[in-house]
Structures are given as C-alpha cells and as structure tokens.
C-alpha cells in the first residue's frame, strides 16, 4: 500500500520543480513543455494520494523536527485535506498545459520564466497549506501563496490597471494575514501548542474572538462580502490561467481554513452558523447582482466566484447550525453540499476562465459587447463554455446542480424540523438561493448569448479563430469532470461521507448515511433520463428535418430590410432592467445622451457598474487613514541602512528577551 502522504508530498515537490526548467534551459519552448510535464506528473501523484486518502478515510501524518522554537511541525493528509488537494492538482496541471499555448515562452521571453516559476511556487504552497498542521508552517505557506500569486498575476505589469489590481490584492492579502496571526496566537493560547488541535477537542465557550478572527482572515481570502473588494480586479487583470487557479483553488483556501477551524471546536454556539449562513446569502446575492452589471467577461466571472463562495458558505452555515442543534442530517447535508460545491466550483470556474482566456486570446478584448457570433468561429470553445455556464448556474444534468441540491435539502430539512427551529433562517435562505440561481441563469445566458451567438460586433470577433489543442484539452478534462459528477453523483457520496466523519468523529458511530437523506441515485436517474429524452427528441427532429424542405434566410427583422450587427441586443441592454431594479446596491454610472431636434447629432451611451463598496467605502476610509497616519509612515522612508538598523534592534530585543526568559 502506497502512503497517501508520500504521494502528496511527491506531488508538491514535483510541482515546485516545475518552475526550474525555464530558469536553466536556453530552449525556452522546450523548457516550458518540460514544466507542463512536471505539473502533470505532480498532478498524477497528488491526485492518487488524495483519492487514496478519500477511499481509505484515514488520517496519516508526518512529524518534522525543524529546529524552530515553535515545537516540531506536523503535516498530515486526511479526507478534508484530500478534497482540497484534488482541485489544487487538477487545476494546476490543466493551467500549466493551457499556458503552453496561451502564454508561450517563445512569444513572451521576458515574462514566461517569471510566470512559470511563480505558478509552480503557488501550486506547491497551496499544497502545503492544506497538509500543514502547525500554525507557523501554515502561515509561512499562506504568505508564500499570497506573494507567489502576486507575482503570477502582475506578470503584465506594464499595464496600469494590472499594477493597481496587484497592489490592492497585496494590501488585502496582508490585512487578512494579520487577522490570521491574531487567530493563531489566540488558538495557541486555547490549544496549548502551535500544532492544530484534533477535531472537536476544544471548548467553544471562550472562542468568540478566535472564530471572528478566522472569519475575517479566511473570509478575506475567500472573498466573502464585504471583504471581497480585491477579488474582481485581481481576477480580471491576471493572465487567464492564473485567474483560473485563483478562482478555482486559491480562494477555496479561505473555505478550507474556515471549515478546519470550526472542526476544532465541540458544541459551537448557534450564532456561528447563523452568521456564516447570513454571510453566505449576502455574498451570493451581492456577487450575482454585481456580475449581471459587468461587461468585462473576466470581471463578470470574478463576481460569480463571490456568488459561489456565498453558496458554499450557506452550506457550511447549515452544517454549523446542525452541529449546535444536534441534528446530524443537517450537518451531513450542509457539509456535503458545501464540500461538493467547493469541488464543483473548482471545475466549472477554471473551465469558464480558460474558455474566456481563449476568447480573449482570439478577440483581443475582454469586452463582451465587442464579441458576438464566436460559436461559429470557435465551436469547441463555445460548446465548452456552454457546458461550464450550465454547470455554474446549478442546472441539471451537470455537477453544479448536485451540490446546490444538497444545500437546498439541508435548508428544507431545517424548515420541516419544527420542534427545534421556529426561526426563519432556513425559510429565508432557501428562496434567496433560488433568487441567486435565477439571477445566475440570467447572467450566464447573457454572456453566452452576447459573446458566442448572433453576429460579430467587431472586426476582431469576425476574424476570431479556434484555440489550439493545448488550450482545448485541459478544458475538455474539466468539462468531463463536470459531466461525470453531474450524471453519477452517487459515486462521490461515500467520499463526502468520509470527510464529514473525519470532521465530526462522533457522527461516524451513529451510522448516518448521506444516501438516506439525499437520494443522489434518483438525481442521477433523472439526469440520465433527461439526456435520453433529449436524444429521443433530437433524433425525431433530425429525421423530420431530413424529410422536409429546409430554407436558409435572414433573421426576420419585422419588415426592416437592412439590419446591421450594431442593432443587436448588447450585454448592457440585456441586463438593463435588472441593473435598474438593483440600482440602489449597484450604483451604476450611466451617461445617457440628450437627443434633441429632428436631425439629432450622433450620440453615445455609456454605462458601467463599478465596485461600489470599494469606491464608496474602502477608498475614502483608506484615504482618511492615510492622512491621519502620516507620522507612522515616517518609519518607512526607503533608506536601506535605517532598515538594517531596525533589524538589528529587533534582533537585540529578541536576544535580551530570550536571555531573561531562560533565566526566569
């Protein structure tokens, strides 16, 4: 039996070495291929390790005596780690292969090595985060992840908006890290050591501050509203495959941290769950409403990440409320839904970002309103984008539906459990999730319809070309996973059960089964039946078409004889009613021209939905702080010799401190 942890560590080390070939080899194109092969090998090892751990359901750990004064470190692979390892390795390998054609070293000689190196370090640090069981190791990996991601996303740093997005990301990442420092310090006080305590071993009575710091620190990374401000611009301005790993994997580290944190505590207070559920509902709604107003395809996808993080948080909230109320079915349904949605979002969102990347590659713009008719030029990318769009909307028969369905079941289970809850939390959350789903459909039908259907709106879109096989293949893999989980969800049920049991050791003994509360087999039957019905109607229809006369004509213009592509509906016009309905939240900037006279002059209309919270709240706040704290800023003057002095002073202080500590 090969050990899961050995395979995982091998995977992480292989991923780390993937950054090296471009630094040492002169043939950059070949080096990039070697790097992609290394990432693929890393993924094979890592995925095998994760699957072994999920299949066995056991926990395996290694002690590392690293000679630091925080006690020996520990790394471990348990089912929860394994679930998060899967997307790390799947997405990183897909992105590395995609980069061969999207960011070829031959065409980007100065940036490719930097991008590949930081991407490799990012992958490895993500892997370490989910296997670390020691606060200092975790924080170190967390910092490396933040910095590596910064270098990967700002590779195109000649553009002003890329630099601005990078700085915003870096600032918020460090505010989040600051909260995590506080969190781990308090946790150490509670647990007595820097090692992570075992599941359910701490009392939650004095843990309010711990929970809140974790929620801020991890919520910042996950992009929970109102801590999401860094996310849209960072995802939009990074290279598409970096956006894919950020959205699919990096922000999930926040979810991992939160689930790991709450697993430490037994008997958690009810309001923890309510707070997480409420944060989830708000993130879901705000995310999807802002997404509708966007016409930059990557910004739009970024807002959908916020929405999906919200859905995951809703599932987590249901599970937490179930824990404190002592209802195992709620814990099972909520947690299984949240975990599966984490995995699902890590497949369809990278898929969508990679599709968006190939569209941007081909059209040279991120503006949906300049695209159109791309399905004819890029049939594969279009079909794959459609797959991702149906999956992210949570529509059957793909994977997004399965996880949202589990969360719905948890909410409805809470609603009919009359004896325990008379509170309306679940009853309000279920329709909110339905609204999120409806808005997501509106948003994705908009993107797909405007970008891929109709007539091209721009010269570049007219001359668009299909992406190469190195870009298509990773997307096919991701779409395949979407379909597989959607059509055969019962296959993942035992894996989800094992994760829940590892988080709640008490539940394993009770013999509760996910299948007893959620008949995933029936979902699978209906999903397959749907495909069968579709195949049947399509066959009938095709045979009918073959017989009858089929005429090609122009789209009917209601009598108008000279339609142009400029008369088509645009993304802005499609979303106009919804943006208007939610304008209180969105604060759209619109400039409507005044049209006067019988022969009006040419006029232009402009509309834009900015990040309202950032512009309306955070930037004024930071500007205010900036002027107030000018005295403190004198410490940072850019004079290197004084910085060295700071280090010397710190060292001396530490020496004196440890001297007296040893004495006492």
């Amino acid at each position: 039996m090969i050990s899961p942890i050995l395979l995982t560590v091998t995977g992480i080390i292989l991923a780390l070495t993937a950054g090296i070939p471009l630094l040492v080899l002169t043939d950059q194109a070949k080096a990039q291929k070697i790097s992609a092969v290394l990432h693929t090998l890393a993924a094979m090892a890592g995925i095998c390790g994760a699957l072994l751990s999920l299949a066995g359901g056991s926990r395996e750990s290694w002690q590392i005596d690293w000679g630091l004064p925080f006690g020996p470190a520990e790394i471990a692979v348990d089912p929860l780690s394994a679930l998060f390892l899967l997307p790390i390795f799947i997405v990183s390998a897909c992105c590395a292969v995609y980069a061969l054609s999207y960011w070829p070293a031959a065409e980007n000689p100065e940036s490719a090595s930097r991008l590949t190196l930081s991407f490799a370090i990012l992958t490895a640090s993500l892997g370490i985060i989910v296997i670390a069981r020691h606060a200092i190791l975790f924080l170190a990996a967390w910092e490396i992840m933040a910095v590596a991601c910064y270098f990967a996303m700002t590779v195109d740093s000649r553009k002003k908006e890329v630099r601005e997005a990078g700085i915003l990301y870096l600032v918020t990442a460090h505010i989040g890290a600051l909260a995590l420092f506080a969190y781990f310090a308090l946790l150490k006080g509670e647990a007595g050591s820097y090692l992570f305590p075992p599941a359910g071993s701490l009392s939650a009575s004095a843990a309010t501050a711990i929970f809140l710091f974790a929620l801020i620190g991890f919520g910042m990374k996950a992009g929970v509203v109102p801590l999401h401000i860094w996310l849209p611009s960072a995802h939009a301005n990074a290279p598409s495959h970096v956006s894919a790993i950020m959205s699919g994997v990096l922000i999930k580290m926040g979810i991992y941290g939160l689930i790991r944190t709450v697993s430490f505590f037994a008997a958690i207070p009810f309001w923890w769950g309510v707070l997480v559920l409420a944060a989830g509902v708000i993130s879901g709604l705000i995310g999807v409403i802002f997404a509708i107003g966007q016409h930059d395809i990557k910004r739009l996808l970024a807002y959908h990440s916020i929405e999906n993080i919200g859905i995951i948080a809703m599932g987590t909230g249901v599970a937490l409320m179930g824990t404190s109320a002592g209802i195992p079915s709620l814990v099972m349904l909520g947690m299984a839904g949240a975990l599966l949605h984490t995995l699902n979002h890590a497949t369809f969102k990278p898929l969508l970002f990679l599709c968006a990347g190939s569209v941007i590659h081909s059209c040279g713009t991120r503006e949906i309103d300049r695209m159109g008719g791309l399905l004819k030029k890029m049939p594969l990318t279009g079909a794959l984008f459609l797959t991702g769009a149906v999956a992210i909307c949570g529509l059957p028969p793909l994977n997004g539906f399965v996880s949202e369905w589990l969360i719905y079941l948890g909410l409805f289970r809470g609603i009919i459990d009359a004896d325990t809850f008379n509170d309306p939390y679940f009853a309000l959350a279920a329709p909110a999730l339905a609204l999120i789903g409806g808005l997501a459909v509106a948003c994705f039908v908009k993107v797909f319809g405007i970008a891929f259907l109709g007539e091209p709106r721009d010269e570049r879109a007219r001359d668009a070309h299909e992406a190469g096989p190195a870009m298509i293949a990773p997307m096919v893999v991701l779409a395949g996973i979407c379909a597989l989980i959607g059509l055969l969800p019962q296959a993942v049920a035992p894996l989800l059960e094992r994760i829940v049991f590892s988080l709640y050791p008490g539940m394993a003994a009770s013999g509760i089964k996910l299948a007893a509360h959620a008949s995933l087999g029936m979902v699978s039957i209906v999903a397959l039946l749907l495909l069968f019905l579709l195949a049947g109607t399509a066959l009938l229809y095709r045979s009918r078409l073959a017989k009858g006369p089929v005429t090609a004509a122009e789209t009917w213009g209601c009598g108008y004889q000279a339609p142009t592509q400029r008369m088509q509906y645009t993304a802005s016009s499609f979303a106009a009613t919804l943006v208007g309905l939610f304008s209180g939240v969105l604060r759209p900037h619109t400039r409507t021209p005044q049209i006067q006279g019988h022969f009006p002059k040419p006029a232009s209309f402009r509309s834009h939905v900015p990040e309202a919270l950032l512009e309306g709240f955070y930037l004024p706040l930071f500007d205010g702080l900036n002027s107030r704290l000018s005295l403190v800023r004198k410490l940072q003057h850019g004079k290197l010799h004084l910085y060295i002095l700071y280090i010397v002073i710190t060292l001396l202080t530490l020496l004196v401190w440890s001297h007296f500590r040893v004495r006492s």
Binding site: G438, G454, A553
Partner: protein
C-alpha cells in the same frame, strides 16, 4: 397492477392532455368576445400541421437555435415525471424532487433564451432579456410557496406535499394557503406568459416576452416550442389545482376524472382572466411579481408561527 396503470395514465395525460388546455382557454376567450371560436382540438391540429411543414433557419443561427426547443421540451418532459397528477404520486418521487422540478424549468429557460439570442435580432434579444429578468423575480415566490408546502406536509417531495392534501389542511392553514394560492396564480400566469404579463395572441408588440422570443422558429421547431409551452402550463396548473381543489375520493377513476375536470376548470379561469383584463404596462410587471413573492413570504411567516 394499480401502480402500473396509474403510471400509464400519468404518462398518457402528460403527453396528450396539455394542448387541450390551450384549446379551452382560446374557446373561453372566444366566448367572452362573442365569437364561436376555434374547435377545442385546434391546438392539436396546429401542432401536427407545423410538424409536417418545412423549416426556415436564419443564416445567423447555429446549432444552439435548433437545440433550444428540444432541450426545453426534454427538460419539461423530465419535470413531468416529478409532478404528481390526480391522487397518485409521481412516477419518480424522492426527497428534493421539487428543487429538481424548478431547476429543470430553469434549464429550459436557459436554452429558450439562448436560442432567442442566437438569431441576433434585437426583438428576440428584448424578449430574452425580459424572460430572464421576470423569471428571476418569480423564483423566490415559488420557493416561498414550496417552503410553506414543506412545512405543512413535513415532506420534502412534491408527491408528499400535494397528494393527501385534504380539505382539513385548509381549515388549519386557511389564511396562509389563501395568500400562497394568490402568489401561485400570479406565478402560473407569469411563467406561462399569459395576460396580464404577456399576450400570447400578438406577435409584434414590443411589450411582449415569450412570443417575441420564438419569433424565428418555424415548422417542427415551432411545434416543439408550442407543445413544450402547453406542457409547462399543464404542470404548473397541476401544482395549483392540487392545492385549490382538495378533493380526494379514494376511487381511482373518480380521482382521475376530478383532476382532469379541475384542470379544464383552471383553463376556463385563465381564459376568463385573459378576457377581462388588459395586459400590464411592462414596468408594472416586476412590481406584480415582487408582490407575489411578498404574498408567499407572508404565507411562510404565518405557517412558521403555527406548528403543525
């Protein structure tokens, strides 16, 4: 054998009955207008005739345009297997099927709107945008109603919620159910694009939703669109009828007849509404839909305060 027979009746009703509802509605409208009106079976003739015709496709369109009506029809047919009809559980009843039911309609909507956008026509773009916008607003109302039904019946499946819906439930939860029925009727009219939301008779008004979306479909594709739309009316109508006509005799034949009779009655009611009301101004539509959500939210509040 009864299970087999009932499933057979369920499937036959699902496949054959829906166009009749459209016929009844049109006949009712003709009655109010003082006309003789088309035969009750006219929708069947229309669909058969369309199926036999040739097709015209715009050069702008792709396979998505042809897939639109087919996916919508397949999704609606799948949803038909989840909705209980008469006094019998659906062929595929399981916990959480009401969510799948709602989401299958979502899938249909996704592809209908995508097919509309595929033509590149601004008319169909308008229709698509309106459909997507208004159905978003109808979604919470439907789910509040599902919450009410789940809470009353302590069941997580449509069959559990809607079968065994005796008159006594109305005595226990009358106020809440009344509010919910109001909301459900609004959803029924909105989702099926009836007056006051949409006018299924006109084809070129700019205030329209569904008809303008399917403007470019022709021949067999249009037949699939019309059939799918009547099936959707049938299914949402069944949901409505289960609650408003709490009559269950226990006799198999009587129950099926009662169900079919109340469906026809519902069609007459819809026809009456269409004949006596004008279409709303487009800007009023969201308000009515939001008020449906508010109605069913109040129903939920009443039921939550009242332990069954």
């Amino acid at each position: 054998m009864p299970v087999f027979v009932n499933t057979l009746v369920h499937l036959l009703l699902t496949l054959l009955f829906p166009p009749l509802l459209i016929g009844v509605i049109n006949r009712t409208k003709a009655f109010f207008a003082g006309r003789t009106g088309a035969p009750l079976l006219q929708p069947y003739y229309d669909m058969i005739r369309l199926w036999r015709k040739g097709s015209v496709f715009s050069r702008t369109t792709t396979w998505v345009f042809q897939a639109g009506p087919l996916v919508t029809l397949a999704a609606t047919l799948a949803a038909a297997l989840l909705m209980p009809l008469g006094n019998h559980p659906s062929p595929l009843a399981f916990n959480g099927d009401m969510i799948l039911f709602a989401y299958l309609f979502g899938l249909g909507r996704f592809f209908t709107v995508a097919a509309a956008l595929d033509t590149g026509s601004s008319f169909e773009g308008m229709g698509g945008a309106r459909e997507a916008t208004f159905s978003c607003l109808a979604e919470p109302a439907l789910f509040f109603a599902l919450v009410v039904l789940a809470r009353i019946s302590s069941s997580l499946s449509l069959s559990g919620m809607l079968n065994n819906f005796p008159l006594t439930v109305w005595f226990g939860f009358g106020a809440a159910l009344l509010l919910m029925v109001g909301a459900l009727f609004i959803i029924l009219l909105a989702e099926n694009c009836r007056i006051p939301f949409d006018d299924p008779n006109t084809h070129l008004e700019l205030t329209m939703i569904h008809e303008v979306m399917v403007l470019d479909h022709s021949g067999p594709g249009l037949a699939a669109v019309l059939y799918g739309a009547s099936l959707k009316l049938f299914l949402l109508g069944a949901l409505f009828v289960h609650i408003t006509v709490p009559f269950r005799s226990g006799n198999v034949i009587l129950d099926w007849l009662a169900f079919a009779g109340s469906m026809v009655l519902l069609a007459v009611v819809i026809g009456t509404v269409e004949s006596t009301m004008a279409r709303l101004k487009l800007t009023r539509v969201p308000q009515l839909l939001i008020s449906a959500s508010i109605l069913s939210a109040f129903a939920m509040l009443l039921v939550l305060r009242q332990t069954p």
